[in-house]
Symmetry: C3
Amino acid sequence: MARKELPTTFSLGVCYYPEQWPRDRWEIYATRMRELGLSFVRIGEFAWSRIEPAPEQWNWQWLDEAIGTLEAQELAVILGTPTAAPPPWLTVQHPEILPVDPDGRTRAAGSRKHYDHCSPVYREHARRIAQSMTERYGQHDAVIGWQIDNKWGESDSTRSYGPASREAFRSWLANRYGSLSPLNEAWGGAFWGQEYTDWSEIVPPNLTMNEPNPSHVLDFYRFCSDAIAEFQAIQVEEIRQHSPDRFITHNYMGHFGEFDLYRNAEAIDLVSWDSYPTGQIDKDLLPQLDVDYWARTGHPDLTSLNHDLMRGLKPNTPMLVMEQQAGQINWSDYNCLPADGAVGLWTVQAWAHGCAGVSYFRWRASLTGQEIMHSGLLRHDESWDRGGVEVANLELGGAELEPVQASVVLLHDYESLWISDAQPHAHGWSYWKQFTLFYSVLRRLGIDVDIRHADADLSGYRVIVAPALQIVDADRAERLTGAALGVSFVAGPRTGFRQPTGQAQPDGQPGPLRALLGYSLLNVDALRPEMTIQVDDEEVMIWAESYDPIDSDVMFTYDDGPLAGQAAVVRKDRAFSIGAFSPILIGRVLAHVLTEAGIPVEPLDEGLRVSRRGDRTIWMNFNPDDRRLPDGRQMGPVSFLID
Amino acid sequence: MARKELPTTFSLGVCYYPEQWPRDRWEIYATRMRELGLSFVRIGEFAWSRIEPAPEQWNWQWLDEAIGTLEAQELAVILGTPTAAPPPWLTVQHPEILPVDPDGRTRAAGSRKHYDHCSPVYREHARRIAQSMTERYGQHDAVIGWQIDNKWGESDSTRSYGPASREAFRSWLANRYGSLSPLNEAWGGAFWGQEYTDWSEIVPPNLTMNEPNPSHVLDFYRFCSDAIAEFQAIQVEEIRQHSPDRFITHNYMGHFGEFDLYRNAEAIDLVSWDSYPTGQIDKDLLPQLDVDYWARTGHPDLTSLNHDLMRGLKPNTPMLVMEQQAGQINWSDYNCLPADGAVGLWTVQAWAHGCAGVSYFRWRASLTGQEIMHSGLLRHDESWDRGGVEVANLELGGAELEPVQASVVLLHDYESLWISDAQPHAHGWSYWKQFTLFYSVLRRLGIDVDIRHADADLSGYRVIVAPALQIVDADRAERLTGAALGVSFVAGPRTGFRQPTGQAQPDGQPGPLRALLGYSLLNVDALRPEMTIQVDDEEVMIWAESYDPIDSDVMFTYDDGPLAGQAAVVRKDRAFSIGAFSPILIGRVLAHVLTEAGIPVEPLDEGLRVSRRGDRTIWMNFNPDDRRLPDGRQMGPVSFLID
Amino acid sequence: MARKELPTTFSLGVCYYPEQWPRDRWEIYATRMRELGLSFVRIGEFAWSRIEPAPEQWNWQWLDEAIGTLEAQELAVILGTPTAAPPPWLTVQHPEILPVDPDGRTRAAGSRKHYDHCSPVYREHARRIAQSMTERYGQHDAVIGWQIDNKWGESDSTRSYGPASREAFRSWLANRYGSLSPLNEAWGGAFWGQEYTDWSEIVPPNLTMNEPNPSHVLDFYRFCSDAIAEFQAIQVEEIRQHSPDRFITHNYMGHFGEFDLYRNAEAIDLVSWDSYPTGQIDKDLLPQLDVDYWARTGHPDLTSLNHDLMRGLKPNTPMLVMEQQAGQINWSDYNCLPADGAVGLWTVQAWAHGCAGVSYFRWRASLTGQEIMHSGLLRHDESWDRGGVEVANLELGGAELEPVQASVVLLHDYESLWISDAQPHAHGWSYWKQFTLFYSVLRRLGIDVDIRHADADLSGYRVIVAPALQIVDADRAERLTGAALGVSFVAGPRTGFRQPTGQAQPDGQPGPLRALLGYSLLNVDALRPEMTIQVDDEEVMIWAESYDPIDSDVMFTYDDGPLAGQAAVVRKDRAFSIGAFSPILIGRVLAHVLTEAGIPVEPLDEGLRVSRRGDRTIWMNFNPDDRRLPDGRQMGPVSFLID
C-alpha cells in the first residue's frame, strides 16, 4: 500500500502507545499487528512529556524508532499531536493555562485535557509542539496523516469559566455584536434587569443565583465551540506548512454536542470518531431502552446514528473509526463484557455505514494508569483477547468503499441542541433524545438515512426530516421551504420555536416556517415519567404539543389530557408536523410519508437492522438470539449477513 | 375605583413588564387588560438597569409612559422596587455585595437575587433606588401601593456565608448575648470543645467537617431572618417618607420557611404571596402523595395552607395573591399543563380562603430570558392562552370580602421549623411535612382553619393544634396553658422537646408543657421508608414516639415494634398528644376532639374540599373526575360550587 | 480492681463528658455508674477548649474534680487526648491547620476533626496538649490508660489536599523513591504523558479533569495513612514519657479502610473500636441485604467482622469496644430504635468475639450540640433509657477472657483495598463487599474466623482465605505459598491482579501466585444490577471472571453469558480459586473446602450465629422471631444462649 494515504479498500488499524511498553517488545508487536491483518497504526497523541521532557529538550529517538519498527512491517502511521496532555512542567510554569469549571474550581494536572482552549500561553505551546513534530515527521514515509489532539471536549473540557475564557468571550462578543445595544437586545437584557453598559460587566454564565439567561448561555456555547476551532486551526496551520500532503483528522466522540462538529470539521481532511457501543446505553438517548438487554452489544441505532452523522460532516471524503471498542471498556458505570461476535459485528456495521477503516482501541491492555481495566486486542499477558480473535477471523479487510446512498435526510443543528437543552422544560427530554427517536424509528423501518446540517444542500433527498430544529430564522426558512419543494418534509416538536438569538418567535412557533407547515402552536404539555396521554390509542410520553391547523389538515388529534381534541399531527401538502413524543405514532406517520414518497418500508424487529452500501445489502442481528429476516432466512445471535 | 387603594370587592390583576415589550404594544395591552376585567397591574420590580442604566443616570420617561398607558385604562398600579435585580454596573463596581453560598463560592450576577442582605454598600444602594422611585412616583395618581423587592429568599438567597454576613452575624450575636459566656452556654460550647473566647472566632456554620452545632445554626438562621427584615426596613422608611398613603406589600413564597414571615410582615401593610400550585407537588410535603394524580391541579391543601398561613400574618388586613399561576410554569422538574378549569378553581380557592384579589403571572409569555417556557395570559403570539380564556369567563370579580372565620387554629413557629429541620433525625421527616399532615387531615374533615404564630392571641378558638412546636419555654408554656383553658388542645410529636437555645429540655419533652399535657417522653422511633408499625391497626410511618402517661389517660398504644404496649396518644382533660405519624390515626383523634368540642365534622373525599367565607360556602373539586357532595349534588372535574 | 490496668474479666464502662453537665450532678452520676456495674469510664477527648481556653491558660481544676468523683466510686478512667477538637482560638491563630477537601475547599472549625494531620503547627500543638495532660495525669491513680484523639479518619478527615499535605506528600515520595525516575516508572508516567521532572510538579490527586492515575492515588493514600501514624506517634511519645505504665489505645471505626489499621496499631497497646450496629446496614456491604429487616439489630456479620478484624490487629492483647451503641443513634439516614434485647445481645457478641470489655456510648443523652438526638444510658430527663435497663439486667460482667481460637483465617490488606476501590470496574463492587461476602458465608456455615494481615504469620490455620487480595508481589507470593503448604487456600476474584505499584501483573493475574493457584485469568465480566449469569444453576451477580486452568482442575464452569463453558472455579491440589460473585456458589465451595480440611460445617439460618470463646459456645439469634438451633432448642427473638 502507498504510505501517504489510506488504503482504497476497507482497512483495519490499531491505537498503540509504544512509549508504554518495553523497547524489546516493539518489533514483536509490529509483527503481530501485521499478522493480524492491520494496515495502519495511530500513535503519539499523549506523548508530549516523553518527547519534550523539559522545555525545548527534545527526545525524538524513541519516536523515530517506534515509527521505524512499524514502518518495517509496512504499517502506515497516523501521528497524533499530544496537546491533549500538557506536560507537568508546563502547568507548573504556567498555571494560568488550567481550566476553571462551572463551580469556579481551577482544575488540576494529573490526567488529561487540563487546559483552557483560549489560553494564549497554551495556544503558543500547542503551536510549538505541532511545529516541532511536523518539522521532524511531516515528510516521513510511514506517516500518512495527523490526528490533532484527542477527543475535543472530553472530560468536560469544552467550556472553561476562568480568566482566559472570560477575556476571550468578551472579545468574541464585541466582534459579534459591535456594540452593547444589539447584545442587550439579543439577550433580552430587560429581563431581570441585566442590561450591560460596559463589556467588562459580562462574565461567563456560571454561578448565577437563579438559572442564567439562555441567550447568554447560547452565545457562550457558540463562543466555546469557536474557541476549539481556533485552537485547532493553529495546529492545522503548522501541519499544512510542514506536512502538506498528509491528511489531518480528529477523533470526535459519539453523541457529543458541546461544540459544532460541522464548523470544526471544515478545517480538517478526514473525519474520524471513537466508537464504544456499550458505553452509550446509560445515556438516556432512547425512551424505555432495556439497558440490560443491550449491555453486551450496545443498541445498534445509537452506534449507527453516529456513523451517519460523522459521514455527513464531510460527505465526500473518507471516514474512519479511530477508536473501536474491542472488549470491555473501563469508564462506564458497568463495564460488561461484550457478547461473542460483537467486535466483528461493530466492524461490519462501521463499514456498512460508510467507514473506510476501523482502528481498534487498544493494542495491549495497559499495565499502568487509568486504563488498566480497559481491554486491548492483547490481554495484559500478551495473549490474544476475545476481540483480537474476532478481528483475526474477520473477512472484511479489503471490502470496497462504495458510497452510502440515502433518500432520507435528518437535519441536525448544534445551536438548536444548545438552546433546547438549556431550557428542556421537561426533565428527561433532550435534543438528542428527540433526534435519536426519529432516527431509530426510521432505522426500524429499514431506511438508510443521511444526517446533514440544517443549512446543507439537500437536493436529491426525497424525504427531509427535522426532528428537533428549534432555531429557524427567515433565511433558514427560505432554504428549507425551497428544499421541500416537491419532496416530503417532516417536522418534529418545537420546530422553529426560536430565533437565532434563542428568543421565542414573536409570532409563535413555527415562526417563518408557518407558510411551509401551515399551523400555529397552541400549547405544550410536559409529562411526568409515569404519565402518558393518547393519540389514536398510541401512547404519548415526555412531550406533547398541539396545533391550530390554520391552513393544514389534521391527521391525528389527542384523545385525552388537556389537549384532548386538538391536533397532534398536521399536514400541509407534503409537509408534516408531529407534536407528540410517541415512538409508535411517529412510526405510523413516517411509514405513511415514506410510502407516499415511494420509498419502500420494511419494518424490522428491534435489534435487527439493514444497511446498504454500494450494491451490497448488510443484514445485522444485534439480538442475543436468532432472528428471521423478512425473506425468511435465519440469522444467528450477534451476527451479520452480506448480500 | 379609587386609585389609592385596592377595590373593596374581589379584584383581578396581572404582573406585567412593559420594559420587555415594544413601545407600540403598551396601549393595546392596557386596553386588553381592561377588557379582560383586570383592575390592577404590578410592574417595575426588575427594572433597575432600565431606570438607572449607569450610576445616577436616571431614565424615567419609559416608566412614566408605562404607568400612563395603564392609568389611561383606569388600571391601578402596584410598583415594585427593583432591588431583586442589582444592575450589572453595580456588581462590577462593588463585587463585595455578591453573596457567598454554603460551599464558599461567591455567586455571580446574571440572573437575580445576587446580593448579600447585610452588605452595607448594597443597603445604601437599595435605599437610594427606593428613594428615587418613591420621590418620583410616591404621589402618582395611578400608584396604589409598593412591592418591596421580590420573593425574599428566592434562589437560595436567604443566607450568605461571606464577609458581609459574617461581620454582621458577630454584631448580631454580641447584641443578643452581650458577652461570650452566655453564648457558649446557649450553644453548648462544651460539646466537641468549641467554646469561644473572642467574637472573631465565630464564623457562619458552613464547611464544618461534621455537621455544625444546631444552636449555632439556629442563631445563624435567626440572624439571617432578621437581616432580611432590616434590609426591608430601609426601603419601608423611604416609602413611608415619600409615599405615605400607599400600601406596602411583599410577595412571599408558599411553604417557604427560611425567614420568619411574622416578623417580616410586621413592617408592611398588606401580605401577598405567589401561588404556583403545580410547582408544590414534588416537595415531599404530604406523605404518599400521588404526584402524577395532582400534576395538573396541585394538591388543594398545599395551596390553601399557604392562603391560610398568609392570612394569619396580618389577620385583619387585605391579602393578595400577587402571582397566580395561569398556565404551565417553567421551573419545576416537570412542567405539566394545568387541567381545564384549574386557573378558575385556583382563583376561587384564593377568594374562599380570604384573598382580596389575585394577580396573574404573567401578561404575555416572554420571548426572552429565563421564562421563555413559562405561560402568560397571552401566548407568545399574543393570542389568549387557556388561562386567559378561563379568567375571561370567570364570574368572580366583585365578590364580597367577608372575613373567613375559623374555630380551629394551627400554631406555627419558624424557630421550631429551623431547629426541627436542622436535626430531623429521620430522612424524610420535616417540620413542613408534620405541619402539613395535621392541616390536611383537618381539611379532609371539612374544617376551616386559621394558622397563627405560636405566641399569638388565641382567644376565640375552640380547638388549638400545635402540630410541630418543638421550641417551648416557660413563657410560651404559660401562654399556651392559658389559651387552652376551656378549649381543646392537640399537640403533635416533639412538642416542647427543646428550649429556645435549641437545647433539649433538661427534664425531657414536653418540658414546661408537662402540666398541660400530662406525659413524659419515653422514646422516639424513626422508621425507614418501607417500615411501618401499627397503632390500633392504623399504619404509622416515618415517626413514632411513646409516652409515660404520668397524669394523663392513654387513648391508644402501639401494637408492635419496640414501643409495643406504650402510649401513642394520651389525653389530659382536653389536652391531647399524638406521637405517631399516621394520617388515619390523626384523623380519628382529631375527629374525636372536634366532635367533643362541638365542631361538626364532614369527611370529604381526597381532592374534594369546602371553605366558608362570610355566609358563603364554597365547594371545590380538584379531582379529574366527577365527585358527589355530602348532600348528594354532583360536581364536575376541576370545578367549584358556591352556596 | 487495680487502677492501672483493665480488669481481668469482662468489664463494662461508659463514655462520659463531665464538662457537659452541671457540677452538682457529677457525684450522683458516678454513684449511678457504679450501681449499674460499670468499672471504667472514658472522658476528656473533646475537652481542649475547656482545659486550655486560651493559649497556655490552663484550667485543670474541673478535670481534677471530674476524675476525682469517678475515683471516689472506684471507677477507672481512660483519658482521651482532645486533639480531635482543636479549640477555636487555635484555628483563628493558625488557619493553615485547617484541612482542604478534594473539591479544594478549606474546611472550617465548628464541629470536630478540622485539622490536617501534616500541619507542622498542629503537630506541635498536639504534642503540647498531650504533654500537658500526661504531665498532670500520667501518674494519677485513677487513670489506667489513654485514648489518643478520636476515630482517625472520621468526618472525611483522613485526606487533606491543601498545602500542608501537599508539601509532606512530596517529601514522603522523595523518601520512598529517592528520585523521580522510579516514581515515573511506578506510576506509569508515560500513560497520558504525566512524567515528572521536578518534585514541585507533583500535587495530590484531586481536581483532575479525568480520573487521576491510580498509582498516584495509591501512593497518596499510603502517604495519608502514614501521616496519621506519624501524627499519633507524637502523642505516643509524650504518653510514654510521662505515663509509661498506662496503656495507650485508639478507638477505630468499623468497616473503615482509609488508613492502614495494622500499621497504626503497632504503636499502641490495646485496640478499641466503636460499634454502632444499626449504622452499618445502609453501607452496601452485603449483597441483597434486607435493610429494613436488620434495621433494629444490625446484621450480625457486619458487627462481628469488625470484632474479628480488630482482634487481629494485635492478636494477643486485650481489646475493647470503646463506644457501644446503647439505643438509637443520630447520624444515619434513618435512626430506628433498636429492638428489645439488642443492647444486651451486642454486648454478648462483643465478648464472644474476644472483647475484654465494652464501654457504652454515652452516659446521658446530650442536651446540647450535634448529638441531642443520640441516646444515652440515661434519657435527657435522667431516667434510665431502654439500653440502660438492658445493661443493668445483663449478667455478663466478670465473664472470663479466654482466647478465641479459629482454624480459618481471612487475609486482609489495606493497600489492596485502596487500589481495588480506585478502580472497582463495576459500580456496586467494592473491596469490603467482596471481603464481607466471604466472611459472611463462613459465619453462616458456623465457622469461627480470624482476620489477619496478608503478610502475618499464618501458622496454625487450616484454611487460609484471600477474598480480595489484589496486590501480590514475589515476596508475598512466596510467604503465602509457604503458608499454604499442607493446608487449604482459597482465593477470591482479582487475587494477585496487581503489583505493589498498583500496576497490573505483566504476565496477568494471578502473577506470582500462578504456581500456587495454577491458572491464568481469561476475562472479567462486570454485571449490571439486574443482570445475572449462572454457574451450575447458582446465580452470579456483580462480578465474574474466567480462568484458563493451566495446571489446575476445573470444579465449576459458567453456564451462560460470554464466559459460558469457561472455568469459574478451579483447584490445584488444595488451592481453590473462585471467580464468581455468588453467595450460594461460594458457600458450596467453602463447605467443600472446610469438610475436606476436617472442619465441621454447621449451616445456620440467616441471623442465627454461633461463636466460641475458650470452652464456651455462644448462640445468638438476631432475628425478630424465634429460631430453632441445630440441636432443636428454641431461641427467642434477639436473644443469646451460652453453653
